[in-house]
Symmetry: D2
Subunit: 436 residues, 4 copies
């Protein structure tokens, strides 16, 4: 029964690592990892070591005996991996803050995963993820790649279009939305099934099933007093009316599309008040977190990590690995390739929907047509995503332009060219394809 199970974490220096490790510890009976390597780039070495030491203490506390190391040599580390988990951030917080600030100058939303900011992050990230996959094709060709790096949908699609690696994209938004629905109903998570349709950070709950009946209307028209369900986004209240009209529960990220001016104003307010962008805030949180992590007496995930956002990331990531490894055929909401699931979208693009996960990977469950009221938005954003991926891989400026041209958060199209130039110049270190 000593079946080998090697997990490699790329972006091991991330502040999320203790959350991930906590998940690994909880699941250790079913998922007996035999080797674990935290990998990062040279710029992340310091954080990587802090994490390494903390994780060692966490394992020690639980008497867990795993072959555990860290490495700056990615390809070497990947050798013979069974699962590869990616949680890296190209350019770190510095780049994220640029992603948030540059679009604002042109009157657009600055956000790390969506709009022109998410576009810049995608341009930086796609070449790196493809490099990782090329390594995997050579030294770990049977491994599964579980990707948490944003924009997770775009990344999953780029992997599928340009490499042979088996990949699943995970995001903590759907699981948090499901918890939120359960809380509102006062029912345990197991007793409800929640159907998701759409794309990463552009997803919708189309059904809430309890006892075989769809009771979504009950939630849509309930008197609510919701808290934030996704830490990264502040809630603007009018979304409930929209949800009632469209008959769907929108992901909080839809607020960028529904209330662009309010969201921009909120951002500007934060900047003007000295709070800074979300990235600035999170960078400060992280700094404190790593101070905490250094504490030689700390041997559990610190509570403070929860402020960070990304809650339940580990829950979804570890469960997906478990369901693959143990062929459990469990249902999760992940990012995978469309392959005809939503007939309105091309076959080879990524979608975020309920899938059965087993040792074959993620098989989407059919849920019919996209909801009519939001289908055009989904198709529009998918067109943006497809152009973005091609632009990133080919270093094609015209396609980069067309990506932004098709992004609904970049209205006032006369500004695209200038915006795009600034993005390319400010990110030039990470955009080798765009060198002229």
């Amino acid at each position: 029964m000593n079946r080998k199970l090697k997990l490699v974490v790329i972006g091991g220096g991330s502040s999320y690592t203790p959350e991930l490790i906590e998940g690994i510890i909880k699941k250790r009976k079913e998922l007996p990892i035999t080797e674990l390597i935290l990998v990062d780039v040279i710029d992340g070495e310091e954080k990587l070591k802090i994490n390494y030491d903390l994780v060692k203490r966490m394992f020690k506390k639980e008497n867990i005996d795993i072959d555990f190391t860290y490495s700056l040599d990615r390809k070497e580390a990947l050798k013979g991996a069974d699962f590869v988990l990616t949680q890296f951030r190209v350019g770190g917080f510095k780049s994220r803050i640029l992603d948030e600030e540059i679009p604002l100058k042109y009157g657009f939303i600055g956000q790390e995963t969506t709009g022109a900011g998410g576009f810049a992050k995608a341009l930086r990230t796609i070449p790196v993820i493809i490099d990782i996959c090329k390594d995997m094709e050579e030294v770990a060709k049977n491994a599964w790649l579980i990707n948490f790096t944003n924009p997770a949908g775009i990344i999953t699609e780029a992997i599928n279009k340009y490499t042979n690696v088996k990949a699943i994209g995970v995001c903590n938004v759907p699981i948090n939305m499901r918890y939120d629905v359960a809380n509102q109903l006062g029912i345990s998570l197991e007793k409800i099934r929640v159907q998701f349709v759409g794309l990463n950070h552009l997803s919708f709950i189309s059904k809430v099933i309890v006892d075989g009946k769809n009771i979504i209307e009950k939630i849509l028209f309930a008197n609510k007093n919701n808290e934030n369900i996704v830490k990264n986004i502040e809630k603007i209240d009018d979304i409930d009316i929209i949800n009632q009209k469209i008959g769907l529960i929108s992901s909080p990220y839809l607020q960028y599309f529904y209330f662009p001016q309010k969201m921009i104003n909120k951002e500007l307010e934060n900047i003007n008040s000295g709070k800074g962008t979300r990235g600035t805030q999170v960078a400060a949180i992280e700094k404190k977190l790593f101070e905490k992590y250094k504490d030689p007496n700390l041997n559990v995930k610190p509570k403070e990590l929860e402020e960070r956002g990304g809650a339940r990331y580990s829950e979804i990531a570890i469960n997906v690995i478990d369901s693959i490894y143990n062929n459990k055929n469990k249902e999760f909401v992940v990012n995978t390739i469309n392959n005809g699931t939503f007939v309105e979208l091309p076959n080879n693009v990524s979608i975020e929907t309920n899938c059965i996960i087993n040792n074959e990977g993620a098989r989407p469950i059919n849920s019919g047509k996209l909801p009519k009221s939001v289908a055009p938005l989904i198709k529009q954003v998918k067109a943006y995503e497809e152009y973005t991926i091609e632009a990133a891989v080919e270093g094609n400026k015209r396609k980069a332009y067309l990506a932004l041209f098709n992004n609904p958060l970049v209205n006032n199209k006369e500004k695209i060219e200038e915006l795009l130039n600034e993005i390319i110049i400010k990110n030039k270190k990470y955009l080798p394809n765009f060198l002229d």
Copy 2:
């Protein structure tokens, strides 16, 4: 914990009933049926009583205490049902034998579920199943209908198109094909996953998954010495070459489409040799079975039933009910509505494919496009099926003609009109819609 669970079996006089009851007995822990009614029409009363008495003895032997009755009053029996199982045969064996003999006169295959014979059976059966559903809409509107009556795909589609009843069509062919694959590989059933695509009695295994890998090529090119896997059809050996070329394992029913002349010759041989059609043979088997059933000492399903065909019908039917009732989210191959699963087929037609079954019913798992090599055949037969349903419901002779015109087993189209007239005349008792 005394949750009510009422099951009504329509066609309770069928010789399959002891098989079904055996399944119920085995599953009684998980599926604690509180009320069971066997229903049949007046012509089936004698068999119904024989079955009733045998089942009583079977229950007694196992010390099972269920509120168990039989009835000729269908609507009364359906009141408050949780599950309705349909296994009736309109017109009995007499009609089946006509379905087998009439097409042969015109040079076509005579078979009870496919070709012109299956067409005649569909015409007789559709009005009855719709009547049953109308009763259910009135007196058992939350009940699930599990249909085993053939042609199961057409029946499932007719229910969906013309009634509000929640229905799943079951067939024992896929489960038998899965057992057959497992046997060939010498692996237990649980360790393989088999992907089905297509329509009822026109289905194909497109993948055989073991340890996360598709090993269908291994089976296709193995040296084989297969037995019959479906009792109702004798095997013609050339199918292995076809399976290799198309890269799929064809259901045995595909032999009618691949080798029409050989299959006709086989039928003619049986008739000329005095063996009679399959229906004639089965009628004889049934006669003996019911003699057996009458034996007051018999209190188990008799071995002889296995010769009858329909093996594992109860296994699939009871498992589907269990997975709905207990919200088990298990994967089975059943007939359900396409709803975009196979993008090449209309949304509102029935398909036979792998589904996740829970208290919401059957949700098809996405498996991509139909295999290119057989997609045209599937589309052709689906067109036949759609015309057949409309013809039956509307009593429309032109659509009946077009159904046969689109049936690949009815080539030589100049004979359709005469054939159709004979079918309508010989079945007129059961085709009230076609009265002129």
Copy 3:
């Protein structure tokens, strides 16, 4: 050769009427109209009479002998019509100015054919056009309806979805764009073929064919010094860059979608400077025009009409009628039903594209897939249009909300409900379906 040819013009009191009559006069050899009736509503009676008198003088000047009358009794006038031309405006300029002003209050573009303004106009117009069609179904069921009333695409689609009238929607934008291309190339109109794709007021030139070659790139990258090609819209210069990137020549109406903020600012400037909205300006032009029309010495179309916008409306309308009447099989760009022409759009919606026009009506010529770069925008606007039509016909506020929700010119969705309420209240006289 005395074939009857009766033309009924609904909205006969429009200031466009002399332009139309000029067209009729020019085409009189090929299109020998025998009866002409100008129809309008009671509110338009004064203008109707002025037009009637002017037209009489125009006919007299040309020695044309037509049975020519005017009428306020629409149904009576329609009896036995061969062609019906609709050019009416429900609510007149007062409503148009509201359409332009209301959206601006909420930060959106106010325009009579597109955005929230065009939406309001559609709500007012759809019930009227359907009424006209109901009359035609009774008293002129073989007549062709040639519609110029905006929003012409939506109107064409509503007619097709809810009536049996044969209709073609005409717009002067495509013909003007074609002239503009010819001018830029310095080639005569007959020597170029211009392919249009898209929807009314959302159309694109995808090919410019000269000598069998597509030379659109030449135009896209030419040094240009264009004038306004559509009088109703002032040109914002950045559109050339966009056209180069998308490889298409955009209709001037696309500027609303490309430069929403600039277009809003332009509108606000006009209002603040006292010039007023375009509607206010046109109302003033019209006032002067009708003063002119009254001049008993005027017996030709006055030059001043050209300032009005709508240039070449008569050219396209009369040519379409001629091509139908004389079965000429000529190619024009009109609004007709998609019927599979653009596979990305539903079958039963209206499109604006090149059609062969003969006595069967308009048959679209296949030009392949919608251009990838603008397909999502086209699909989005079409979704808006479909919701608008259903809302208007059903008086359905939820669908009206979803129409605006899907309109890209109505971003900042939190304002939709208030905006919609104001639109309904201010237009209540014309929205009988929305009475509560």
Copy 4:
């Protein structure tokens, strides 16, 4: 006005050549050909010379002065061509007779354009047409290829899929069917418009338009006493009933699909009676024709050519060239690329339908969905055609198998492998790709 116009005829030794020349002579005003070359292979040299001499006499009679030659050097001849007309037959009558005889041995129809015979012809012809196109890409890259060689649909598709040559496939069946309809109605050809849908030799008239009304029902239910409309196929009378049921006028070639057994019996009868296959008969006719052609006094197309089949081939071919050359925008039924015209078929396949022909080539006119009753047959045959083209280009035996597997005229699939082997062996001289 001395615009050059060079026409190259490949297969210049065909007995059709005088028919073609007659067409050229009639059209000489509009289509002033300046250079004409008849090209053939060495095996056809004798016939080529006979034709050359006859054509010279035909030109002389009409005082036509064209630069006229013949050549065995195809590439040299093609240099600078404006139009290339292909009417060659790979393997000549010997191969045709094999195509007719081999399938019969296995119980299938033997026909030169459809079924297993047409398949063999396609395998032989595709490599040659691609070679011709490769030559054209080098020495006549602006030329139009007008192809008459069968199977014309498959050939058009292969050219489009594997070369950059602009091609249009012509067939005389649609024009003959249109004449037939006109005759039945007693109306002149110009006054009716006939809509064709489908594939080459698998086409249907879906509408017959007179005075803007579809009167197809009138023809379908008329009392008829039809003659053969296509000389190559003898009429079996039951097709009228089928046409009534499907609401379409079927091409005579559909008889192979409707009445396969009767058609086989007819063929066998002809062979057994000593008449021989159609190929044998035509070979004899041809022999006599060439005797005639040799007559130095003959200087017109001899009447006897009409027995040959292929009537009006020259009418369609010359009209298509004229409409391209003179940018006439006339409507003809030709074979072109689908490009979304029939949404049920792939974009890149050939179809046969009404097109507007001008200097851009053939633009299909949209006519909506394929008729439901025959759509499955069309899709099935298209699948056969796609496999055939891939098999021919790749020399792929599995795809060749799947082509025949998908051909409805090759039922009884157990015989495919043997049949295919015989086809490959007997044609090996012409199937270099299939050499092992």
